[in-house]
């Protein structure tokens, strides 16, 4: 995986414009994205859509799909499968609000060729798009830095503050607004056990409130 964690410093030269399809759930952001991309003569925006299901992938035959991670109703891996099936020639560059390495790794594991965070600057976005289109994987340097930091802490070992499977289940349910009683019923655990798990979650995440846990779950893509 390490060889994919690369943010290229130079912009690859392209012989013809990259045909880009934008799939972005946030309508305004999608339009803004098309406008920014179309301002580069090396890029041709061939279309935009609010989700993979509505995108005319076969007809447009894009070289590259800029795919919003957060905005579609289906699982990301399913969206990737659809892209691969209907546009096998296309590279996929994911656009995400998440800077957490685990979210990026899930995307790359599902087959994405690039991963950029939505607060990216226009010039860097162009660089990312051209890089991915010419076959060089691209990952936002901040996210790649997070992966390397985790590796230096001991790859393959569970970090002290990493949530267990059970704790992950519980934080997801907290993010859905469920009470301890409802969580205990759902997971067939006693309320006391749920409370203990929540205390450990709070300690690991260094937080003090359920709202903070819910925000963490949403930001890290757990909920």
């Amino acid at each position: 995986m390490l060889n994919t964690i690369v943010a290229t410093a130079t912009t690859p030269s392209l012989t013809k414009p990259v045909r880009v399809l934008v799939i972005e759930g946030q309508a305004l952001f999608g339009k803004a994205l098309c406008q920014v991309l179309a301002s580069d003569s090396d890029i041709e925006v061939v279309g935009d859509s609010d989700c993979v299901a509505n995108a005319p992938l076969r007809r447009l035959r894009p070289d590259l799909i800029v795919l919003d991670l957060d905005g579609h109703n289906q699982e990301f891996s399913e969206a990737m499968r659809t892209c691969r099936e209907l546009a096998p020639q296309a590279k996929v560059c994911v656009l995400s609000t998440h800077v957490q390495p685990e979210v990026m790794q899930r995307c790359l594991s599902a087959g994405a060729d690039g991963y950029v965070v939505k607060d990216i600057l226009p010039a860097e976005l162009m660089r990312a798009v051209k890089s991915v289109a010419s076959g060089h994987p691209y990952v936002d340097p901040r996210v790649a830095g997070g992966v390397l930091k985790r590796r230096s802490n001991g790859f393959g070992r569970t970090a002290q503050n990493e949530l267990s499977v059970r704790e992950t289940e519980i934080i997801r349910l907290i993010a859905r607004g469920m009470s301890n009683k409802e969580i205990s019923a759902q997971l067939h655990l006693s309320e006391k056990t749920v409370k203990n798990h929540i205390s450990r979650i709070f300690a690991k995440l260094n937080i003090t409130a359920r709202t903070q846990a819910a925000v963490h779950a949403i930001k890290t893509g757990l909920a």
């Binding site: 759930g25 946030q26 309508a27 305004l28 952001f29 339009k31 803004a32 994205l33 406008q35 920014v36 609010d50 957060d70 905005g71 609000t97 939505k118 607060d119 990216i120 600057l121 226009p122 976005l125 709202t211 903070q212 925000v215 949403i218």
Partner: protein, 125 residues
């Protein structure tokens, strides 16, 4: 209305500014993160905040903005389904907009909110 935008997606700002201009909101300042002191010092007439990127609970953020500027028009912009628009309204938001909305819908919603005092996109409830 002079408007302050809290939005970290910088490539989005020029397009967003054009859309807001359609609702007579003139962007005079943009910040990537919530800075209540800066908001208070800037004294805008309107605030447009993307609540999906905040480090704090969105309702708490709106509440802090309302406390800083009691008379400002506050618009929360969100992509979270079930964003608990009721909490955002209770905290002081005049308008809760969904990121699913196109430019025309956003303009119409902002104009409606300014005219009627409030507007909530049903997708955010």
């Amino acid at each position: 209305m002079d408007s302050y935008v809290v939005e970290p997606q910088s490539l989005f700002i020029p397009y967003l500014s054009d859309v807001l201009a359609g609702a007579e909101l003139r962007v005079v300042r943009v910040a990537p993160t919530l800075d209540v002191d800066d908001i208070r010092a800037s004294r805008p007439e309107a605030l447009f905040v993307d609540t999906d990127f905040l480090d704090v609970d969105p309702a708490d953020a709106v509440s802090a903005m309302r406390a800083a500027l009691p008379r400002a028009f506050i618009c929360a912009y969100t992509d979270r389904q079930g964003a608990r628009a009721d909490r955002l309204r209770f905290a002081g938001a005049n308008c809760v907009l969904s990121k699913r909305s196109g430019p025309g819908e956003i303009t119409d919603a902002l104009l409606a909110a300014r005219k009627r005092g409030s507007f909530t996109d049903p997708r955010c409830d």
